[in-house]
Amino acid sequence: MRGIVHWAKDVDEDWASVLAELTRAFEMSRSSAQGEGSIVYVVRQDDLLGRRGAGNAMVACGLLSAARTAALEGARKGWTANVVAFDDVADRAIVEAWARRLLDDGAVNGELIRVGSGHIGKTLA
């Protein structure tokens, strides 16, 4: 299946850095949607909880919310949007495999897949 996998970059604690990263994700996502391709964002579990600063948290949580909206729009067109979150001990190859599966599968939409155990006992994202 066509689509993009967007890995969130670390950002500084300043707005320009945050906006640049969110804009990069937006432009890639729009391009994918125009071609009816699916979207997967990859973020750190710690950033969904705000544990690595406000800049990274704004990016990760912003992408999660954007994916949920994109998922609603894609559902009418046959493409999907999902998020993979990984913890400190997750293997990068496994994270990539989950992202690829979400692109290829098409059966899961608007979902947050958390690789590793770091989220257990923490707040729902």
Partner: protein, 232 residues
């Protein structure tokens, strides 16, 4: 409560209700941002008109807080706009305008004012139920999700001195919701278990509670005030 509380987007809708609620509940000075003097808000609300997306704007708010002569005990980041479009049709201008006002301004102002917050103070960020996803609002839901992330990060970094929470209103009767076509708005109401739109006062009541010591053990949370729509 005794001190100064800043409320952004206080000219109308939810922000105005929050400002009036806070002004009516005790010896507090409310700095209402984006408020023109002729709007006729209560006398205890100090009107400030600035562009919060500029460094000058946040500085003017800080100066108004300092001029109040009272400790800063609360900040409510409420100002927000919408520029709806489906993702594939969304322009860069619509994207960045919403992100700048809804998230960038809140981040800048909070960074400016956090050093002034008194011990035991509280910050409330007005997110939206759209942080859970809303058709045609890629920019808006991203900005509100970003506010949730900011709230969590600041809840950690400002603890134990200042609490930070987010409120996520659902469909509320306001200028913003009235811009939604009536037919769509009626369908949205049908999906709300409590069978009606919320009122700005109902959001203000929740914000008031989060600003007071009644919620002294709550930080880093998102409270959805949406009539149960998240379930339906």
């Amino acid at each position: 409560m005794n001190g100064t509380i800043v409320v952004t987007g206080a000219a109308r809708g939810i922000g105005r209700s929050i400002a009036e609620k806070m002004a009516s509940t005790g010896p507090v000075t409310v700095v209402g941002v984006d408020v023109a003097p002729e709007l006729g808000l209560s006398e205890s609300i100090t009107p400030v008109q600035v562009d919060l997306t500029s460094a000058d704007g946040t500085r003017v708010v800080r100066e108004a807080v300092e001029a109040s002569g009272a400790p800063l005990i609360g900040l409510v980041n409420n100002a927000g706009i919408t520029r709806d479009a489906r993702l594939l049709n969304m322009t860069n201008e619509d994207f960045s305008a919403v992100l700048e006002v809804n998230l960038g301004a809140a981040f800048r102002l909070t960074t400016e004012l956090a050093p002034l917050m008194s011990d035991g103070g509280a910050i409330v960020n007005i997110a939206s139920r759209a942080y859970l996803g809303n058709f045609g609002q890629f920019n808006y839901s991203m900005s509100k999700g970003g506010l949730v992330g900011m709230s969590r990060a600041l809840a950690l970094s400002l603890a134990p001195h200042v609490r930070v929470n987010a409120v996520a209103p659902g469909l509320v009767s306001s200028e913003m919701s009235m811009a939604i076509p009536e037919e769509i708005r009626e369908k949205m109401v049908e999906s709300i278990p409590l069978d009606r739109m919320g009122t700005p006062d109902e959001i203000a009541n929740t914000v008031w509670w989060l600003l007071t010591p009644l919620s002294s053990y709550i930080t880093g949370e998102v409270i959805v005030v949406g009539g149960g729509r998240s379930l339906s």
